[in-house]
């Protein structure tokens, strides 16, 4: 058994310029931020993000100019920043292609991809501009010619249900991604993942992607996880690489481990409305630091305040909304 262990730097190197990418987590929870920061340090370019929903990971990568295409349904920082200012700026400037689906459509696209089906049928969002043919942005950009294996020939298709007369169905194309980058509580050295709490769309992300990189708070003995197989979330053979990186999701939160660092996100949101602001923020918090340097800079008092109470699975110290 060859080891699946790699470093943060190696993890980021696996994601090459132009790769299509997805992430674990949900909005401001369990995002693989340490790898995202490393991608920015390595000045990755031309990424195609296909996300069930976006969050700080999107905003950081978009702000740093790493992203050419974003397919998803939402980006923001929840309570700590009401929309994605970096994405908004770059869309306004025509620097990024945004393809809008609904949340359920994105989820069903990943479910189809994970099941090896080329599409899924759904009845969500009928009658909205999500299905406006004039708003097919990848099509407008001439990218639906079949040359990019990650971009389907159509944004969606309508068909009528032939079986039960259920009416108009939207066929949404399976998501296809090169790399899924995950951030979880525990992974075994052979790749078995145990997510605690909500698993969001992580199982589908891992199964859909050609390469899955799992960054975990801790790498634990496989044998420990395999004692209770029905508690595990992702099987060993779907995971190609594992990285141990405590607090790797910061400033996003992790069930049972630490809360969202709302002050950090507010600061990010407030300061990165402009490109100059983003560059300044990145200079302060990303460039010239490694992950340990980043943690040192955050400091103990901040991290201890965020640390989850193990009985509650969230921090009883952190004042919410701050």
């Amino acid at each position: 058994m060859s080891s699946k262990r790699i470093t943060l730097q190696q993890a980021a190197e696996i994601i090459t310029d132009g790769a299509s990418l997805t992430f674990s987590g949900f909005t401001i929870w369990r995002r693989p931020m340490a790898i995202v920061f490393e991608l920015i340090r390595q000045r990755r370019r031309g990424l195609h993000l296909i996300e069930v929903n976006g969050g700080p990971q999107t905003e950081f990568l978009v702000g740093a100019g790493c992203v050419d295409i974003w397919e998803s349904c939402w980006v923001g920082h929840e309570l700590y920043g009401k929309y994605g200012a970096n994405l908004s700026r770059r869309v306004g400037n025509g620097e990024i292609i945004v393809e809008d689906y609904s949340h359920a459509e994105m989820m069903f696209r990943f479910a189809a991809g994970a099941a090896g089906a080329p599409f899924a049928a759904t009845q969500t969002s009928l009658g909205t501009d999500i299905h406006n043919p004039a708003y097919d942005m990848l099509g407008r950009a001439g990218l639906r010619d079949g040359n990019n294996s990650r971009i389907p020939r159509h944004k969606y298709r309508f068909v009528d249900d032939p079986f039960y007369g259920a009416g108009q169905q939207v066929l949404v194309p399976a998501a296809k991604v090169d790399v899924a980058v995950m951030c979880v509580q525990q992974v075994g050295e052979e790749g078995t993942v145990r997510v605690s709490g909500q698993y969001y769309s992580d199982p589908e992300a891992a199964r859909t992607a050609d390469i899955t990189i799992v960054m975990a708070e801790e790498i634990v003995p496989e044998e420990y996880l395999r004692r209770e197989a029905d508690r595990n979330t992702i099987p060993s053979f779907e995971v190609d690489y594992v990285v141990e990186c405590p607090f790797g999701a910061h400033p996003t939160g992790m069930f049972g481990r630490y809360d969202v660092d709302g002050a950090f996100l507010k600061d990010f949101y407030g300061r990165t409305r402009t490109q100059e602001g983003f560059d300044d923020f990145a200079k302060e918090w990303i460039h010239g630091l490694d992950h340990l340097g980043y943690l040192e800079k955050l400091g103990w008092p901040r991290m201890l305040k965020l640390k989850a109470n193990t009985a509650l699975n969230y921090s009883a110290r952190e004042k919410k909304g701050e």
């Binding site: 949900f26 069930v52 929840e78 989820m107 759904t122 009658g127 501009d129 909304g321």
Partner: protein, 273 residues
Amino acid sequence: MGKEYAAPGEYGLADLLCCAASREVGDNEVVFAGTGLPMVAIMLAQKTHAPSLKLIFEAGTLDGRPPEIPTSVGDARCEMGASRASGLYDAFSIAQRGYVDLGFLGGAEVDQYGNVNTTCIGDYLNPELRLTGSGGNPDINSFARRTVFIMVHEKRRFVKNVSYITSPGWRVKRWPEGDFVPRRSLYGAAYRGGPSAVISTAGVFRFDRESGRMYLDTCHPGKTPREIRELCQFDLDISRVAGETEPPTQEELHLIHEVLDPDQIFIPRVKQE
């Protein structure tokens, strides 16, 4: 025990919205909640007239009973006391399968048919301002039997035509033509209902069953129907006004500020000493 209403000045607009939203919830209903004020409203209903409602959070928490307000639906707080914690595929499958009675949603713009925009302001192809995007707004609005929108009332938000239909109202676009058709005709077997109310900072609005057009149901205390009509770019039907929006009770105010949101994350206190 009769209801003891709070007097004007004892509550704020957010309190009023929260209580009005809470009253939309029936007991035993399955309710799909987004982040923010709707979460407080639903938990308020859970602690008052709807103890058996089932709360679903989009991120994958099913029938949760959080003891304190989560900051978002991905929050670890969602899962306290929940029946099951899983993921989005579960949440949206449950919604599409038809389990959801009521969903609470928000929006940046709304038209008279209840079409809502959360995607962009201005031309989609060249937006003045890109917003968050759809999130689960169209999904919940497609599958729940009823949806309630909670919105800030400004004339620029109650518009003739929204910049982008993110979430489907009672008359929606049929593609590829793009002409407006009744919601029911498009949804076919998936039709279960649609927007049932808009609760704005000015009043409570409902929709005519036949025409699908919005009308003013109740005015918030201190607002007149004419004032409210002036706050809409479309011709608001004010012929059916039922009176004033019911104010919060003392019990509700206590629950909101002492139990549910003591840190004033979503609902500020009106009186600070």
